[in-house]
Amino acid sequence: MTVNHVDRDLSAMINAFLADQPAPTFSRSPQALRGRLRFDRSQWQELDALGLARLTTGTELGGSGAGLPEASILLSSAAYHGVFAPLAENDLLANWLLQTAGLPIHGGVRTACVRREPTEVLAVPWAGDVDGVVVLDVSDDGCWVSDLRSSDFQTSPGSNIAGEPRDDVRLLSDRSERVQVPRSVAEEFMLRGALARAIQMCGSMSRILELCVDHATTRQQFGRPISRFQAVQHLISDIAAETALARMATDAAVREVSTDRWDTNSAKFAIATARSCAGHASSVVVPNAHQVHGAIGTTLEHSLHLYTRSVLAWRSEFGSVSHWDDVAARLVTEQEDAWGFIVSGESPATVV
């Protein structure tokens, strides 16, 4: 199963629903000038009713039982349409952790985080808006999963550069059941989050490309659309090329882990490649898009910022651009045969 084999009807349904959503709203305060995205609970309920809020969660656990290719269509389309919700957090992270731990999945919306310090976890996505936080404890002794309800923790609000809630969580009690899971779960958590952000970046960058084409072909200066100027064409062509590269690398990573093998060097390399390509693409896409749009693109009233800000936010979550460059560098340097590793993706020990 690959991204291009996702059922057309499902893909069309996802796009139709997301295209129809109202623009996101932000709450602003003197302390948070750029605003915090409001979680739209009624939208979430609709997503849930359509089976999209728990897309990859097993059917026996009340999910839709779909795979990562379907999830990638959903996440990419949501980013493209400017729909901000904890889709990746709820389905790909929280429910996956619960499923892995054999814990029940009750209703409601969840986020997930890794706890390394006893009582505090910083910048947890949407923590102030959700019904529960699935906590993955990682220590030298091993890994444990617990499902905390909102009475078990307090949050103090924060947000990433896109305005998405990234709240600090203070854990009040340790009443909930803790289930030990394999150590590999900690690494897979990071890989899942990283891949989700790469997919979202691709969705946003596709939208940015489209906004640039629309703007350049309609905005008139010197008596003609600015798209007639070669300098402008080249700025946008580079956006198209970088976006295509990021998407190709990300699709390849989705394909690599759609067999649900996250623990191979080839899976790690594919995800590092996706994050590196998407991260470096953003360094071309975001500045070029703002250059094409001129001053209007720097304002709240124009929608460009919804997409450029989210690309900037996501490229630094679940590892920085440098982190993923570093992962790719180390993986390839460890190999006896670097080229063989790059092309086959598999080091001999992990060929399946």
Partner: protein, 383 residues
């Protein structure tokens, strides 16, 4: 909604992996036996006719030529795998490169039956050396302005004019010349062009070397003074030259030679980091990841060609990103080491070749500015 400007990617199937490993094993042996010395940009500068013939005897030249014309009836995906391995190892493949990459697809699409029978088997044997005569002293990126003229005579055509940057003409048997066969129509500058296959040993052909700043003799200027070309060596239709040339650009623009010309340099950096002669750096990951993404794109173009899809703009994306990356890898490696140390001597030599070849990467086969124009048209910026 979410429009794609690029074909979908496909994974590399198991038979392709086997083919890949066969080629790699062979190349490793050849290097160990000292049969060739890996060189940066070897597809452009490494001319070794015996090596080309040996590759051909293994079925790795003329792969996509149908068996009835002496080829191997393989897919572009299979050819992709073989060319990637050749380029990654820095093999000297220039002698058959143009014939195999450009002339074979052109002959298959536009050649007469007689031309196919005459040229294709020779190409598949690795014995055919072709040059391409497109640019002229006054026609670089603006190809429609070519002034080389072909006029019809009782017994065929007479070609007069000059071509420049003609790679390998001094070692080739044939040159495929784009010439004007009708006066310029100001309303359709691309009309009135035609393609001719010209024997470089013909009377009236003069080849003058152009020496590159690296000291290599690779380019030539080729002069044609009433060179007689028989009717049977007109390629395709008279007046259709522009369409014929541009429709085949996908083959030339999306291949691994558009991102692997400097792979040897990166491989040597990795080897030296591994050996401890150079420090670890995240930049290695940036360039490796970029190459890993680019090769997925190029492979998806190869499979799109196999499906008969139009790939011109996708190929332009691969070439513009890939050739820029080739240059950036040289730049990175040059900034990352100094000239001290015996263990870095090979790297230094690769980097110096790379620095001097680099300006060509984003010029040859269509400048990156032209390519961005192609992409701009595809995404609707140029009406």
């Amino acid at each position: 909604m979410n429009a794609r400007v690029f074909p979908w990617g496909e994974p590399e199937a198991a038979p392709l992996r086997t083919l890949r490993s066969d080629v790699r094993t062979y190349l490793k042996e050849q290097i160990q036996r000292g049969r060739f010395r890996p060189s940066v940009d070897g597809w452009s500068t490494g001319w070794d006719e015996d090596f080309s013939k040996d590759l051909a005897s293994r079925g790795w030249v003329g792969m996509t030529i149908p068996t009835e014309f002496g080829g191997h009836g393989k897919s572009f995906a299979e050819r992709f795998v073989v060319t990637e391995e050749l380029l990654a190892s820095g093999a000297p493949v220039a002698a058959h490169w143009v014939a195999d990459r450009q002339m074979a697809p052109s002959l298959l699409r536009y050649g007469s039956d007689g031309q196919k029978r005459r040229f294709l088997p020779e190409i598949a044997r690795g014995e055919s050396h072709f040059a391409i005569g497109m640019s002229e002293p006054d026609s670089g990126s603006d190809l429609a302005s070519v002034r080389t003229k072909a006029t019809q005579t009782k017994s065929g055509w007479k070609v007069s004019g000059s071509k420049v940057w003609t790679s390998g003409a001094h070692k080739s048997t044939w040159v495929c010349v784009l010439a004007r066969t009708a006066p310029v129509d100001p309303h359709d500058r691309h009309a009135g062009l035609s393609q001719f296959i010209v024997n470089l040993a013909s009377a009236g052909v003069e080849i003058r070397p152009i020496i590159s700043m690296s000291g290599h003799h690779h380019f030539n200027e080729v002069f044609f003074d009433d060179v007689v070309v028989p009717d049977e060596l007109v390629l395709g239709q008279i007046g259709e030259g522009w369409r014929q040339v541009t429709s085949e650009l996908g083959f030339e623009r999306s291949g691994p030679e558009r991102y692997l010309s400097t792979y040897l340099i990166l491989a040597e950096v990795i080897r030296q980091v591994r050996a401890g002669a150079l420090p670890h750096t995240t930049a290695v990951g940036q360039w490796i990841a970029r190459l890993a993404g680019l090769r997925k794109m190029a492979f998806s173009v190869a499979t799109a060609i196999d499906r008969g899809e139009s790939v011109n703009s996708a190929a332009a994306i691969v070439k513009s990103l890939g050739t820029k990356t080739e240059g950036e890898i040289v730049e990175f490696a040059d900034r990352f080491h100094d000239q001290a140390g015996q263990e870095l001597a090979v790297l230094r030599q690769y980097v110096e070749t790379g620095l001097l070849q680099r300006p060509s990467f984003t010029l040859r086969g269509g400048t990156n500015e032209i390519l961005r124009g192609v992409i701009a048209r595809e995404i609707g910026l140029r009406g």
